[in-house]
Symmetry: C2
Subunit: 302 residues, 2 copies
């Protein structure tokens, strides 16, 4: 349960903690970065009376990424200080010599490509339990860990989720399956309809025992079955120069799937001209996503 | 003279151009990134009357870096759009199989470590002419290249310079030697007194024919000989948790050297608590440096 803090890095007016811990769900050591904004340190120093604990945004990264990519390139930290939220950057898969990867050594399956689902197929089902890890275990153990220093952060209830590409997919799935849990969901260039695109099909074929399970992990199917609580919204940005737009992302699919459901007109899909799939794209729209989540988390600009 | 545009990347409200060109000074192909802010594209589209051409900030990167590091991690782009300046990110050395590197293969000399000086010693003097490249050739050929699309950018006169670590050193040298040229200079964790620290001594021993030349390349010596034009200032930030603080940076040295010179009290040195040497540190203080340069370039917030 205990976290090892490997590095504490000053950035903006807060600190980024590079941590690791032994995960029950994955059976491995998992890396995770947590940005604690200036408001957290003001509380720790006792300089600020806390009306309620600081909310958390979970950011799920894309294929091949570690917690470092977004920490270094997405610039959530400026926004976290502006509104007063914590940002958690989990890893994208279990890792290690004992963890099976892709037998063909590709970058879009296995290590760095856990797809945020619980695998049901051998040999992946032992370690690849990223759904349980990200949406249940990690928030719980973070809550326990930080309880020692006072209940300054809310890792469990007043929380939102976002992500990029495979991580945007992971965010949508987590939100739609547990939407009472997350106050809002956003995504940067997400895979919205994995069962119908190559990246998703490869992941589902590899991690899931039977095709009957696929719909349980596809946002375009989930959205048809998920009741919508009031004030829940989804914000999506995708660049129209994204090289994966047509083949892997097909962002219109989720808007189409949401017609005749309570989610109709509750998904704001922005196709932005000229943007690609990189962190240049992500960092450009982080301020808009931060504002969106801040509103749902009841935060105001500081 | 001609640039090849390898990639044009949308970021913020402008575009980052990844370019390369054949350099006369280095005798090699040099990579350079140029961020053209939203104001540039408004001019190109003819939507905005230009009072005067858009000024330029040159950003010199540190040891081992390419134009990519700062482009991805320093977040100058937001500031460039805010005030309306172009940012140029040159490479840190000539590169290629024909370019001699460090015989010992270290990372702090040779490829990626050109130190922004003109080498006088064989075999480096043929290619390592980074002073001439950065301060003379590059501005001139950028001016020629962009003249084709109208004189929207001022690469030559209303310009400022900044940099990180070795690049902060390069910025200080260029500013002090040609200070009529740059309107202002700032530096993130610069090497201010290279002749007295290991990184600088290694570079000077390697690139310079004789020890008699060292003072010509040391900001702490240059500052004693450089007249100060009105309105010229230097802004420096260094983290006190920077692992290179004591051995390589010694930032107080330049403030001490400036006493009894026209630069006394014209250097704002900020020792910032808890910050390290990384781009987490740089990106945190880029907004302050952008504001500083904007003031010297006659720019207002847009």
């Amino acid at each position: 349960m205990t976290f090892t803090v490997k590095q504490k890095i000053n950035v903006c007016n807060g600190k980024l903690l590079r941590m690791s811990h032994e995960s029950e769900s994955t059976g491995t050591t998992m890396d995770v970065n947590v940005y604690l904004p200036k408001q957290y340190w003001q509380c720790v120093r006792g300089n600020e009376a806390l009306m309620k604990p600081i909310p958390t945004i979970y950011y799920l990264s894309g294929l091949t990424c570690t917690p470092q990519n977004a920490s270094e390139k997405a610039m959530w930290q400026f926004q976290a200080d502006k509104y007063g939220f914590v940002v958690v950057f989990p890893d994208t898969s279990p890792r290690g010599d004992d963890v099976p990867g892709d037998p063909e050594g590709s970058w879009d399956f296995g290590h760095g490509a856990g797809f945020y689902i619980d695998a049901t197929k051998e040999p992946y089902s032992k370690n690849y339990n990223m759904y349980t890890y990200v949406h249940e275990e990690l928030p719980r153990v973070l809550d326990q860990h930080f309880a020692d220093t006072g209940k300054h952060v809310d890792f469990l209830e007043n929380v939102s989720i976002t992500g990029h590409s495979m991580g945007g997919y992971g965010a949508l799935c987590g939100f739609l399956k547990q939407q009472a849990h997350y106050k809002s969901c956003s995504a940067f260039a997400p895979i919205v309809n994995p069962k119908n695109v190559p990246w998703g099909q490869k992941a589902f074929n590899g991690y899931l025992e039977s095709k009957a399970e696929w719909d349980l992990h596809d946002p375009c199917e989930l959205i048809k079955q998920t009741p919508r609580e009031e004030r829940r919204h989804i914000l999506i940005h995708v660049g129209d120069a994204d090289p994966f737009y047509e083949e892997q992302l097909k962002p219109q699919s989720i808007v189409e799937a949401s017609q005749d459901t309570p989610w109709a007109n509750k998904i704001e899909l922005n196709i932005v001209a000229g943007f690609d799939h990189s962190y240049y794209f992500v960092s450009t729209f982080v301020p808009q996503h931060a504002k969106f989540h801040a509103e749902h988390l009841g935060l105001k600009e500081h």
